[in-house]
Symmetry: C2
């Protein structure tokens, strides 16, 4: 009697349709420019149908966000990790920035919409924390290898995160051509990650890096 399984599969299928349609619209427009009605139009259902699968717009968009965190985690995990711990941190930062600038609308919603982080408490290990864990691990390696100055791992990781976030946020929010004396976008990202890394180098690490 696989009827209930089939039903569930069909239900999941509609849910997927909604999610992908919403993601497409979302990726090209912003949060408030995407309306429930337009999502419904895109999948050729009535607007009310969406409410059979999601509590409200916030719920829908949070489900989307959940998946995006997973994508981010996978994106970071797939970047090759060089043997040099400092270079590994650098590559991780660049990959993070690549994600943010490539999918500005998703990034905006993930990290720049106030009060959207509650669901992080739901799972014990959310994708968001997993992603942060990658950075944490890289920083730990850099500290223990003597490249980074000794200090709190979490704080160091957070500072790196905050700096990169700032670069990404500026780039995707204010069109660079409008602010004073802007360097090209990828340039800013590299300058920020390099400067922040330099700020954490131990004397020994700095010497080693100079010698290469």
């Amino acid at each position: 009697m696989g009827v209930i399984e089939r039903r569930e599969r069909e239900r999941e299928e509609v849910r997927r349709k909604i999610l992908t349609a919403a993601r497409d619209l979302f990726a090209s427009e912003g949060y408030d420019r995407v309306t429930m009605r337009r999502i419904a139009d895109a999948i050729e259902y009535s607007p009310t149908t969406i409410y059979n699968h999601f509590e409200d717009k916030d719920d829908l968009v949070q489900a989307l966000c959940q998946e995006d965190f997973d994508r981010l985690f996978q994106h970071l995990q797939q970047t090759p990790s060089p043997a040099d711990p400092v270079e590994a941190v650098r590559q991780l930062g660049l990959a993070y920035a690549r994600f943010g600038t490539s999918y500005p609308n998703q990034y905006r919603f993930m990290f720049m919409t106030p009060g959207k982080f509650e669901y992080l408490k739901e799972d014990d290990v959310s994708p968001g924390e997993q992603a942060f864990g990658l950075l944490r691990a890289a920083v730990t390696a850099a500290i223990e290898g003597g490249y980074f100055r000794r200090g709190d791992v979490d704080t160091t990781a957070q500072v790196l995160w905050a700096s990169m976030h700032g670069a990404i946020a500026l780039i995707i929010n204010l069109q660079p051509q409008h602010w004073p004396h802007a360097p090209a976008a990828p340039d800013l990202v590299e300058q920020v990650i390099d400067a922040t890394i330099r700020g954490f180098l131990a004397e020994q690490g700095a010497a080693r890096r100079r010698g290469r």
Copy 2:
């Protein structure tokens, strides 16, 4: 025949009423939570009246933003500037962060709303550019004094700005208690400015700073 002057004065008065009412609501709630009707209620005029003074909601909120940039500039200008150029940069960064975390809604709108920067081109020297000019000047002094490594002034200033912006953005958008292993808010700000400054110190500057 001062009648037209009086009329103009009255008109300006209503305009001011709108602006201050909008600012109050705006400061306590977000951009989209403040409606034209509520602003109108607050000043005891009909909603349509606002449209006699401002093109639309964006125009109103941009006028508000204009003023906020001016406030930011004055806030930065009023912070005491120590003789040590590095310390001056540091204090400037901290003052900037204080502004951002004290007025999160204004800050959000100034720097985190996409495509709101067009008006920067209107004036030759906008308050935004003036504020950036302060940072630029401080950085120039630090470089010319031999404290900061030689390099493009604008790029260095932008990196400092981006880093601080990242710290502020994280703090005011995601409530810190929700992210993993968060340091206290002012701590993060200090850690970020210190790390970034260290990243720009010339060897000579680092030595001088160590010796104090």
